[in-house]
Symmetry: C2
Subunit: 332 residues, 2 copies
DNA sequence: TTGAAAGCGGTACCAT
DNA sequence: ATGGTACCGCTTTCAA
């Protein structure tokens, strides 16, 4: 059942049917009625491929993330998907893992499917060495990266000021008298580096020394990994008086190790995830504003797709969500 | 740059270029070489819409879930996506929320995009009253539902025997001497009903009475909601001697309320999620085998797409993952 | 092995 | 307001 069949059954031309399909005002009310009725009767659905071929668009946006099973990315995908759907776009989702080769492959896959735009979620999409694939992609469609900043024409970045967040964490902890703050992190992506800078700046601002043994990198982003790392640290006789983590999951692991050792010190996580709400005491954590970032990213994309200009970078400031592992003076 | 341009630059016809593109053996090695070289030089990419139009397929599979932000669905989506990608399919992801109307709308959206198949994740996709939309969908493409069973031709179901899992939970708790087991749940989808049956059967099998006050429904699937519900229960003077939950998140909430009240009793969660690993003590929980279910579902779909028969229902048995809130005798 | 040409199912321009 | 038709880019059948 195609547009021509419908046209025949209505005694009109396919052009007219097409007009009805596209809500063209140049169709008489009577004709429109008739066509719509027949369409309904026949259960007709226009062929998306044919339309796509003609318009060079199927109203699809590609979303790339390293892994949707990660709670943080899952939330981001969910938020982006909703915003895009509200604007009539469908989502092609692709998980890439962390290798550059695979990220490039999947990016190209989406491009070959002729998506209208691309949303890359996570700072893992800013590569250290080679970002030429992003440049190439941005040449073909609008690209927006969530949670990383990179200066490439037509690549837009919407992110949270995580450097500032970490600096504030340090200042708040220092204000409470903490002087040996452990920083627990896993990767040094763009986001990871920003957080690290924030920690350093915070320490400097508070006149605290950078002690190498208080920067602890875990082998992976998992509770077990963080727990083990902190456990070994403590067993090595290094006793921090506070912990800041780059991720809630790491903070959870740290909390377990500390609890085990009978140590109770302030602890601040990152991402304001449900993980942090599971523990007792519940984690104080940095909210990096996905709720705002994602719709903003989509809005920006929509602007670009409408042929308008859009800012290359949008930076949100974060918000500390105070739960039980740390509270500022004011909120007490 | 299209197939004809390439053909012209090679001095062959577009048919030949098409053959090269489709790895047809009916092309001389020399010609193939030449065409491939030119393609590379021009950075040519075949137009997916045109190809889709001709083949009536863009090798895309639609995935429907109520919300990817939910950790459980996120994992499922991740696993399904990976399997499908390995088989050369791209994923159209659609989150529907819980209303029937929206589920139908999104289903149709994907169908209109002419996906090759449909994967519905979650038992929320089996409706109480009206499943005619599923029947209609299955008429057009193979459909597989993960985690629900429904008997519709061409709708395949891959799921875990959650009834059995819950029955076992009860038996194990009873074997430890528990007689007042609180069952905490949120929804009564297909999955919810199965679990409930399992609880009942378990109680019956152990000669324990069904006490109405020990079946506790939370207003929503959240820690806070479960915590509040259990807190009120305890304050009402009802003291269970064990808890089984339909979801880790609810178990986490229950654990908080119990801890607050100074009560320490066995606790079994469901889904074997990372949430359960966050708490101290860590949750013993039922693993409902997503790791196996998802690839199996995709395999089944692949069979159907290859024109072969495939079973209508595949049932996996679950596995109890013993952590700290409950352990069977044997494992001690 | 290769080429010519008829679809696939729409869109949109140009006439009327 | 409506119809005729070229075109979008690829696949595939039929001939050569």
């Amino acid at each position: 059942m195609n547009i021509h069949d419908i046209a025949a059954r209505c005694g009109v031309s396919s052009a007219t049917v097409s007009r009805v399909l596209n809500h063209s005002p140049k169709v008489s009310e009577k004709t429109r009625e008739r066509v719509l009725t027949v369409m309904r009767e026949e259960g007709y659905t226009p062929n998306a491929f044919a339309r796509g071929l003609g318009l060079d668009s199927m109203k699809m946006v590609g979303i790339l993330c390293t892994d949707v099973a990660d709670l943080y990315y899952a939330r981001a995908v969910s938020l982006v998907e909703r915003s895009l759907r509200e604007r009539g776009f469908d989502i092609l989702l692709c998980c890439t893992g962390n290798t550059l080769a695979e990220k490039q492959r999947q990016l190209n896959r989406l491009l070959e499917k002729r998506v209208d735009a691309l949303v890359l979620i996570g700072s893992a999409f800013r590569e250290e060495q080679d970002n030429s694939h992003l440049k190439k992609a941005a040449d073909q469609v609008p690209v927006v990266i969530i949670n990383a900043w990179i200066s490439i024409p037509n690549v837009h970045c919407v992110l949270c000021d995580e450097r500032e967040a970490m600096e504030r964490n340090i200042r708040l902890l220092a204000a409470k008298g903490c002087r040996r703050i452990l920083y627990l992190y896993d990767t040094l992506t763009y986001s990871g580096l920003e957080k690290l800078s924030g920690i350093r700046e915070g320490l400097a601002a508070c006149g605290l020394p950078e002690q190498k043994e208080l920067f602890l990198k875990t082998p992976e982003k998992s509770i077990a990994s963080a727990r083990q790392a902190v456990k070994e640290l403590l067993e090595g006789g290094i006793l921090p008086d506070a912990v800041a983590a780059s991720e809630d999951l790491l903070a959870v692991g740290a909390q377990k190790a500390l609890k085990e050792a009978g140590i109770c010190i302030p602890l601040i996580g990152f991402n304001n995830s449900t993980y942090g709400e599971c523990t007792s005491p519940a984690l104080t954590s940095v909210d990096n504003m996905l709720d705002m970032i994602c719709p903003t990213a989509v809005q920006l994309l929509a602007k670009r797709l409408a042929g308008q200009e859009a800012p290359q970078k949008i930076l949100f400031s974060s918000r500390l969500v105070e739960r039980e592992t740390f509270q500022t003076e004011e909120s007490k």
